[in-house]
């Protein structure tokens, strides 16, 4: 009886998942169709599985270059966000004073600002830093990374803040007595314990940074610096959108994220399984 129930749940789950993926199926199916085929039936399987549009998309997107740029931007941004974010969050939790509270509140509150209202003054600041300080924030991957860190700071601190609290202070105190300074205590004791949160932050930030269009589109102009989402822009005319190329481009964009997710997920599950066996 119980077994039957379980099977039933599994089946229901799969049905839900399938329904969930229905729109993804539409993207995949239509990345193989020409305009007429797409018009006739968006839901049908493509008549032939030609890689034509994928190849065209790869070529027009200058895919390998864009992929490399996206990779650099994503990895470096996330590396910095994770490290600085966890350090900040830990310090803010462990140092209970007004400043900490204030900083935390400011960080959290700014998550509510719609990016669209910031972009004009942001570009002003960045172009000022380019012309006056000679720090080329615009049209450089470094600049984009810098801004990603700024925008990712809030969420990272917020996530870590919640979980730092669940770490017993006693461990840190013991390490401090053993003569470790704060940096070593943090990286030896605390940071490893934050691993589940780190993985979460990484996953959420990968999704965001890898797919981000608006910020990179403002920061990067040079075609050699384009990230993957930017490189699909030419498929989206004001009126005429080349859906097959656009959808092929989208599939090419998201496949690396899915691969990353599968890898990251294994990592979390391993941790859980190890705990379960004991």
């Amino acid at each position: 009886m119980k077994k039957l129930g379980k099977v039933l749940i599994e089946i229901t789950l799969m049905i839900v998942c399938a329904a969930y993926l229905f729109p993804v199926y539409i993207v995949l199916a239509n990345s193989f169709k020409n305009r007429q085929e797409l018009y006739e039936n968006m839901l049908a399987l493509p008549e032939k599985l030609t890689l034509e549009y994928y190849l065209e998309a790869v070529e027009k997107m200058n895919f390998s270059r864009a992929f490399g740029n996206s990779l650099i931007v994503t990895i470096v941004s996330i590396g910095i966000i994770v490290i600085l974010g966890s350090m900040t969050a830990w310090m803010l939790v462990r140092t209970e004073n007004k400043l900490s509270k204030f900083l935390f509140m400011v960080l959290v509150a700014t998550m509510l600002i719609p990016f669209q209202t910031l972009m004009m003054p942001l570009m002003q600041v960045m172009s000022w830093s380019k012309t006056t300080l000679q720090v080329p924030m615009l049209d450089s991957l470094g600049g984009l990374i810098y801004m990603n860190v700024g925008f990712g700071a809030s969420m990272a601190v917020f996530l870590y803040h919640g979980f730092v609290k669940s770490i017993p202070v006693s461990l840190e105190e013991a390490a401090t007595i053993d003569g470790g300074n704060k940096l070593t205590v943090f990286f030896r004791i605390v940071f490893p314990m934050l691993k589940p949160t780190t993985v979460t932050v990484m996953i959420l930030d990968v999704i965001w940074i890898w797919n981000d269009y608006l910020l990179p589109s403002l920061v990067l102009s040079n075609k050699n610096l384009r990230t993957i989402p930017l490189s699909t822009a030419s498929f989206f005319g004001q009126f005429t959108i080349q859906w097959n190329l656009a959808m092929a481009g989208l599939m090419l964009t998201i496949i690396p994220v899915i691969i990353f997710y599968l890898a990251a997920q294994k990592y979390i599950i391993k941790g859980v399984a190890a705990g379960a066996v004991k």
Partner: protein
């Protein structure tokens, strides 16, 4: 254990990078520019005149459809003139916003495109004087964008819109008045065909079709101004009353445009399910993948005796006035070359597929819709585009679309429709 060690190394290195990026950003980032290549050369906009010769110009433009050809053209230019042309890209939808942000922060391109009219009016301060280009006098009448007596915009091409129809299903000579148009809709419906179609996207829903009654006014500019201050209303103007009558019929006898996308609109037409659509010659590219087995042409939207297509310049080339003298000159040189050299002319007509508007450029083989635009233009049967020239900026998307959506989802009468459209103009106009 090894894992842990690696993790630590990774952390340390990332940490160092972080510090470098934040603390000593200056040095590292300066290094980076060298490897990643500098852009536009628009950086030093203030101290300009002493700058050395420009070796690179940047183009940023809205017509995504020609971007591949434009890149090829850029390569040709570099081969012939030794000046690098970089083409920036973005989606058609966010072009204008991106352009404004870049211009506003001195990160603007050398050359850019705008729709002549309220768009170029807003950016007037950023437009260089192009009057001394050799071919300016050869630009067809009223097609160059002039501000304060100076030519600032060079037209890409002309585009025209009207009723694109299927010659097998519609005889244009029998659809020359609003009543005939309406009875055509009824007939087609009786025969199981959708007589006419708009689509849900802003200009295709209301912008283009509402352009016609405006263009039919004696002085569209004054009319818009009076409309905004309440001296005239649409519901008391004959052309609009007839327009509303047609719209009521469209609502009654054809598919609801709010359920039709641009893709579906053109697809229905290409496959014979719709007898006509309200579109322009730009739509011809949409039929490339279809086996269209009929002849198509374009006719005027027949309200209040209108016998003309709405023909105007959708976009023009502009040179950024905020870059160095040398760069402005380089931008002008490029335009000079584009409109007078053999290579440039060939690209305009053959590769971009444009209808030329400058003397000395012969159009190559045109598609049937462009052909129609060309013929109407030659016969002098054209009406302008007040929608770009005189309507308040942003009105179509922000104010007119909601009214049209209300019209197509309720039983609102044509007159109520006109009242609301008038209100929209008053609101949009006074908010500027």
């Amino acid at each position: 254990m090894r894992m842990k060690k690696m993790f630590r190394i990774l952390l340390t290195s990332a940490f160092i990078t972080a510090l470098m990026l934040t603390g000593c950003g200056k040095t590292t980032d300066v290094d980076k520019t060298e490897t990643s290549g500098t852009t536009s050369g628009t950086k030093e906009t203030t101290q300009t005149s002493s700058e050395p010769a420009v070796t690179k110009i940047v183009i940023f433009q809205s017509k995504v459809e020609i971007v591949d050809q434009l890149k090829a053209l850029a390569a040709e230019y570099q081969k012939e003139k030794g000046i690098e042309v970089e083409v920036w890209e973005t989606t058609g939808d966010d072009y204008l916003q991106q352009l404004k942000i870049r211009l506003g922060n001195n990160q603007g391109p050398t050359l850019f495109s705008l729709a002549p009219g309220s768009e170029s009016e807003d950016l007037k301060a950023y437009l260089a004087d192009l009057s001394d280009l050799s071919f300016v006098s050869g630009i067809a009448e009223n097609m160059a964008d002039e501000k304060d007596g100076k030519v600032v915009g060079i037209p890409y091409t002309v585009e025209g819109f009207g009723v694109v129809y299927n010659k097998n299903l519609i005889d244009a000579s029998k659809v020359t008045t609003a009543d005939e148009f309406i009875s055509m809709l009824k007939e087609q419906q009786g025969a199981g065909v959708n007589g006419f179609s708009l689509s849900q996207e802003s200009y295709f829903l209301i912008g283009h079709i509402l352009n016609t009654p405006f263009a039919l006014q004696e002085d569209p500019k004054t009319f818009v101004e009076q409309l905004i201050v309440g001296e005239v209303t649409m519901q008391e103007t004959e052309e609009f009353i007839e327009f509303a009558k047609v719209m009521e019929a469209v609502r009654e006898y054809t598919n609801n445009p709010l359920e039709v996308t641009y893709d579906k609109e053109t697809g229905d037409f290409a496959t014979g399910k719709s007898a006509s659509i309200h579109q322009g010659n730009w739509a011809y590219g949409m039929f490339a993948d279809y086996d269209v087995d009929f002849e198509m042409a374009m006719m005027p939207l027949p309200i209040s005796g209108n016998d003309s297509l709405a023909v105007s310049v959708p976009a023009g080339w502009y040179v950024n006035s905020q870059v160095s003298e040398a760069e402005i000159q380089a931008g002008k040189d490029f335009l000079e070359w584009l409109y007078t050299s053999e290579t440039g002319k060939r690209y305009i007509t053959e590769e971009f597929g444009f209808i030329p508007v400058v003397e000395g450029i012969e159009s190559s083989e045109l598609d049937p819709l462009s052909q129609a635009v060309n013929e109407f233009t030659a016969a002098g049967k054209t009406i302008p585009w007040p929608m770009n020239s005189y309507w308040p900026a942003g009105i179509v998307d922000v104010y007119l679309v909601p009214v049209a959506q209300e019209f197509f989802t309720t039983e609102m009468t044509g007159e109520e429709f006109l009242v609301k459209l008038t209100e929209a103009f008053v609101q949009a106009g006074q908010n500027q």
